[in-house]
Amino acid sequence: MLHYTHETVISREASIFLMAKSLKAAQSATDAQKKTQGEEASTGTGTTYRHGSYPDARGRFGDFGGRFVPESLMAALDELDAAYANARQDAAFMAALAEQERVYTGRPTPLYFAERLSRRVGARVYLKREDLAHTGAHKINNALGQGLLAQRMGKRRILAETGAGQHGVATATVCAKLGMECIVYMGEEDIHRQSLNVFRMKLLGAEVRPVTAGSRTLKDAINEAMRDWVTNVATTYYLIGSAVGPHPYPVMVRDFQSVIGREARAQVLAEAGRLPDVVVACVGGGSNSIGMFYPFAGDESVRLVGVEAGGSGIASGKHSATLVAGRPGVLHGALSYLLQDADGQVIETHSISAGLDYPGVGPEHSYLRATGRATYVAADDEEALRAFRILSEEEGIIPALESSHAVAAVLAMGERGELAAEQVVVINLSGRGDKDINTVAKALDVTLE
């Protein structure tokens, strides 16, 4: 297993790009990349990406995914799997979801040509404006879809976990709209970092339960939500917020979030007249990125770049860059890349953005990485903060700190001269940054009254 450093990823990215001047060269680069990825995949996946064929019946994406959960939940997962398969086949359900996405969420969200950012990085950069979706982030896409599914299943008690608070807010919002009880588990550390979102959830009628176990962040909130679900499985729906967890959650979350990529693909074809060269999104658990990537993943010419949180730098060990620096393991019901110590204990992660502060990652991302279909890099806290400021000052858009990581990666590509003027880059701007104002002020040594 090769453990990347930030630098080696960048240099490989750069060398791949330089080779990609002609189509033939690009093809050989991809082949070389696949070969490297294949050799390093310890679970033996190293195969070619096969679009649309995963997950299989066992919920596996290649070797990744599955259902590693207590027996108490297995019947509930079977029930959920059947209910979701049934709902997907039901034209009336899908139409109702599409209608609510339009009138409630405000879809489609715009694809915005960022002129000044484009000039700065030397390519045509578009932002997919998920920050303009109702509640201010892409999380509502999944919460709405699963909320309607829970309603269809007759479940009235909804559980959610939240890191940055965006998924908690989205779930509380949907529960308010659908008249369902909402309980949100949130790490105590995150409650302090995201007090504004905690208050929003309470205003929306949700009960926020602080989690004091472990690192007091997102992973501990998921543990606690799962414990609650195990205990109250007959009456309760667990509305997981990222493309993680046991099957069918990763595929279900991908499907509900794929509205992002479907829209973006149609919009970029309409506005730029062709497919993008590069699609970039931040990766914590990986829901906004899988929603953005999946509809493009069948287009071989489109490079997919996931940006993880580099925290204080990969070398410092204080980061959340699971796919860059982790190895396969089992957490929260799925086999996927995982940040763990030599003993297989999950380690504490660090990031300035609560939403990326998670040691695991969705299993489909592990599959994309193992097959070389997507590449994953890291942007550290400083780079994210810089991107946050640049987008605020030069585009008048205050991005979420999570999304700022994706912007930072594109800034870095531009500064390394990897982008050409005629190239089209689409960044998923997964959320707005209002929730992060306190964190940013603190990082910039500004005292707010």
Partner: protein
């Protein structure tokens, strides 16, 4: 670590308890809690006091099937530096001192990280007779079950009140001939001592009994002598974990082992037989 130790059959321990007309008692010790030495002393003392099977818990950073008691113990044990390697070493020392069959309870990731084959080899060498992996349902268990079986280690599956009949039958099929037991989780929930056993326990256990000839052990929430007596009427074994840790916690440091053994004896008084000392492993 001695690697010539014979793996002790769990089935034998259940058969012996049954022949003596009592329910088998399976007390739990968390490796490294409250510290490595005490956990070893506890395991040995419980074995000597006549525990039929000893369950040794391996701490994990994310114990999502566990309630507050085991979560706290797990966290503490990790802070003391306990690891899967450390737990295997502890198991080896315990099995060198008492003949009680050892069952290791661990979440799956430490095993996956250790390497499944290597883990089974080392567990076998440490005298481990069985495994309980709470986040490994039969669907995902083939690699570990196969490697464990080759080493004579029984992978003991869990069934719960929410398991439909087909899933109970699946466990019965997979576990048949493993030499282990079926772990009947008394309730839908996490581990932790409770005041009462669930109302529908007898019906649930009967549902499992109708589908397998393997010994049935009931765990989760088992905390009192009367619980053990109740389980004795419907199943073959009782697992006592959180309540035992609570006993450890309640005792002053110098009396931890004595207090915990006294608690085991209190539970034994309800297993259906008078003098457990007679059956204690030598």
């Amino acid at each position: 670590m001695p690697n010539t130790l014979r793996v002790r059959p769990i089935a034998g321990a259940f058969a012996r308890a049954k022949a003596e007309g009592r329910v088998a008692l399976i007390p739990y010790v968390m490796a490294g809690y409250p510290d490595v030495e005490t956990s070893e002393a506890l395991a040995v003392a419980l074995g000597e006091a006549g525990a039929d099977v000893l369950e040794i818990g391996v701490p994990f950073s994310d114990p999502l099937a566990d309630g507050a008691t085991i979560q706290t113990a797990s966290h503490h044990a990790l802070e003391q530096g306990m690891t899967l390697t450390g737990a295997l070493a502890l198991a080896g020392r315990v099995s060198a001192q008492v003949a009680t069959p050892l069952v290791l309870m661990t979440y799956y990731n430490p095993i996956f990280s250790y390497g499944i084959e290597r883990f089974c080899e080392d567990a076998s060498a440490a005298g481990v007779a069985g495994l309980i992996v709470p986040d490994l349902p039969p669907e995902e268990a083939a690699p570990l079950a196969t490697a464990a079986e080759q080493r004579g280690i029984a992978l003991n599956f869990l069934v719960t009140p929410t398991s439909p009949d087909e899933r109970v039958e699946q466990v019965a099929r997979v576990a048949k001939g493993s030499g282990g037991f079926v772990y009947c989780v008394s309730l839908s929930g996490v581990t932790g001592a409770r005041a009462q056993l669930p109302e529908h326990l007898a019906a649930f256990v009967a549902r499992v009994r109708a589908r397998t000839d393997l010994p049935l052990a009931v765990g989760f929430g088992v905390a009192r002598a009367e619980h053990v007596a109740e389980i004795g009427r419907i199943a073959d074994g009782a697992v006592v974990a959180s309540a035992l840790l609570n006993a450890v916690d309640a005792a002053p440091p110098e009396k931890r082992v004595a207090t915990t053994v006294a608690f085991l004896r209190e539970l034994q008084s309800s297993t259906g037989q008078e003098t457990p000392e007679d059956t204690a492993a030598q």
